[in-house]
């Protein structure tokens, strides 16, 4: 009988997942976004297999400003470096930094939002006013200020970007918690003496994961854009380390004569950001229980 139960269990769980996948699949744009991101991730992750890192930094003055060709897919820049290799390895940094930033913001935002929403009162006021202050400053400006204060470097940039992203996640988490707080199953948990931490962990967190994931997907796109912006402004990832924004920045003086140097990395940023937004849209339809018929 026990065995029967476990069988039933797996079949039920997968059916729930199936429903989400099915609903996600109905949104064509989000499927396209998903495919693009998967190809991109695969290309970036497998980069060492088909393109050595040497090509990224190897300069060759005789091969400056070559147009895209079979040898150099995306051509070469002013130092004769292969743009394809730079974009592939630059993508590693862009995506990795985006993920780390959003990961930090997700965890911190969740903790702060849950605390604010569940405990209410003074805790709520302090946390949310603090978030309001952070949100009043434009995200990019805040990140710039923090980077200037802490000094340039990947680590500092990650911290800066996370801090500007945390208030958004905290707000989302808090508003979700507020709607859950008065649900009867929370009261039921209280009647058997469940500790507050356990209530948050067992009853609240699983129920706000859906909207949080949607928010994170949307945030991922804009974070990648911000990393690129910082790179372009010269306070993000420093050259010669490739990063999509940095690449555009390096080439900006030559864009007028060799437009592909700006267009190609720009397209990569745009497509990636758009894809993440499409996925976010699709996830919203798939995970939001209100969309259920």
């Amino acid at each position: 009988m026990k065995k029967q139960i476990t069988e039933k269990n797996t079949c039920k769980k997968s059916s729930q997942l199936k429903m989400i996948v099915k609903r996600f699949g109905k949104n064509r744009l989000s499927i396209i976004g998903m495919v693009i991101i998967l190809i991109l991730v695969a290309a970036i992750a497998l980069a060492p297999l088909y393109c050595s890192y040497d090509k990224v930094i190897q300069q060759s003055l005789s091969q400056r400003f070559l147009s895209p060709s079979a040898e150099h897919f995306f051509g070469t820049d002013q130092y004769g470096r292969d743009l394809f290799a730079r974009i592939v390895y630059g993508g590693r940094i862009s995506l990795f930094c985006g993920l780390v930033t959003i990961g930090i913001a997700f965890v911190a935002g969740m903790v702060l939002g849950c605390a604010a929403g569940f405990f209410g009162g003074m805790t709520d006021t302090i946390i949310m006013r603090f978030c309001d202050v952070l949100m009043a400053i434009p995200g990019l400006l805040l990140a710039m200020a923090i980077v200037s204060a802490l000094g340039q470097g990947i680590g500092n940039m990650l911290i800066a970007l996370s801090i500007s992203q945390i208030p958004r996640e905290a707000r989302t988490a808090r508003s979700c918690v507020m709607t859950l707080r008065n649900q009867e199953y929370i009261e039921a948990a209280k009647t058997c003496g469940t500790s507050r931490f356990r209530i948050i962990w067992r009853h609240i967190v699983p129920n706000i994961l859906g909207p949080m994931i949607i928010d994170v997907m949307m945030g991922l796109g804009s974070t990648i854009l911000r990393i690129a912006s910082l790179g372009f402004l010269g306070i993000g990832i420093a050259s010669p380390t490739p990063e999509w924004g940095t690449i555009i920045s390096e080439n900006q003086i030559n864009i007028r004569y060799y437009p592909y140097l700006g267009i190609i990395p720009g397209l990569f940023i745009m497509i990636t950001v758009l894809s993440f937004n499409f996925i976010g849209d699709g996830l919203r339809d798939a995970l939001d229980p209100k969309m259920k018929n």
Partner: protein, 329 residues
């Protein structure tokens, strides 16, 4: 001349991603002029779907009338165009919804919401006439006309339902569809609203379909009853014919037995076993067969017809094939 409202063999389906829900499966119902029909049934029986079908307000893309006909006063509702329907809604047929809290617009005053109906349906009316009508209808439902400049949140639940009734009646419709109008209210308020609707019904001679799950309310308020189960009318008759409880559909009988009686002490209730029919299934036989204690072989094989019991009393059950109760033996 035909019937006032004639619903014949109506089939409605809701298509969702996961499945098809068979909401109505051959529902037939006639309403005479001035008659109040109580439509009784449990959640998911298709009561609200019927009301929405009559008004052609089924959710687009999802809900579809797949078969059957609806005639209102000789007009084919299913074939009617958009403009025709807009005229029918409000002017000829109107609806009262269950929840008075959500059926009023919170940013418009009560008076504006009533006026809106008049502007839509009687564009020729002068401003003074319109104001007069608003005052009249508010007085009729027991709200002082001075309150017309207030917003819905300034009214209590029972008062809101009065406003909803005023909006539904201001264009003097000939048919009123009331979808559980008192379910969200307290009993003492429910009694007030029912009394009000009774008075109004007599004054205006409106026909009414009163949707409810409460057999008690039906008896106090309606002239006749239609019991709905699984998207079909399974019993139809006057209040007396059904509430005398001599011959009933097994489901109606079960419903009666479920209600704790105020007059008699019972040790235990007699619930209907099992669950309400899963509307995504479409059994070949009687929809109630699985829960029925009189179920026989042919009940599961084919769906019984409506058998005439006497007077205007009809029951859709093989037990009454010849107007006689057939026992299991």
């Amino acid at each position: 001349m035909g019937k006032f409202l004639e619903v014949k063999d109506l089939h409605v389906q809701y298509k969702t991603d996961e499945s098809v829900v068979y909401a109505l499966n051959g529902l037939t119902l006639d309403v005479e002029k001035g008659e109040t029909v109580g439509l009784v049934g449990e959640t998911g029986a298709g009561k609200t779907t019927l009301a929405l079908s009559i008004l052609k307000l089924l959710p687009e893309d999802v809900g579809k009338i797949t078969k059957g006909s609806i005639y209102y006063n000789g007009t084919d509702v299913i074939a009617a165009g958009k403009n025709e329907m807009r005229r029918l809604r409000g002017e000829e047929i109107s609806m009262i919804f269950q929840d008075p809290m959500t059926s009023l617009n919170p940013v418009l005053t009560v008076g504006e919401q009533i006026r809106e109906v008049l502007v839509l349906h009687f564009p020729d009316m002068t401003k003074q006439e319109r104001e007069k009508r608003v005052d009249e209808i508010l007085t009729l439902v027991g709200i002082p006309p001075e309150r017309k400049s207030q917003y819905p949140h300034q009214f209590s639940g029972g008062m809101k339902q009065r406003v909803v009734i005023a909006i539904a009646l201001v264009a003097q419709p000939k048919l009123l569809l009331a979808d559980e109008p008192t379910t969200a209210l307290d009993v003492t308020i429910q009694a007030q609203i029912l009394q009000l609707m009774k008075d109004l019904k007599q004054k205006l001679n409106t026909s009414m379909i009163f949707i409810t799950h409460d057999l008690g309310v039906v008896m106090e308020f309606c002239d006749s009853v239609a019991v709905v189960y699984g998207g079909e009318v399974i019993e139809r008759g006057t209040i007396e014919e059904i509430y005398v409880r001599e011959k009933n559909h097994p489901y109606t009988e079960g419903l009666f037995n479920c209600i704790p009686d105020l007059g008699v002490d019972t040790h235990r209730l007699h619930p209907i076993e099992g669950e309400v029919l899963d509307p995504t299934l479409k059994p070949a036989g009687c929809k109630f067969a699985d829960r029925c204690r009189y179920c026989r072989d042919n009940c599961k094989k084919s769906n019984p017809d409506m058998y005439h019991i006497g007077g205007t009393h009809f029951i859709k059950c093989y037990r009454y094939t010849d107007g006689e109760v057939q026992t299991n033996e």
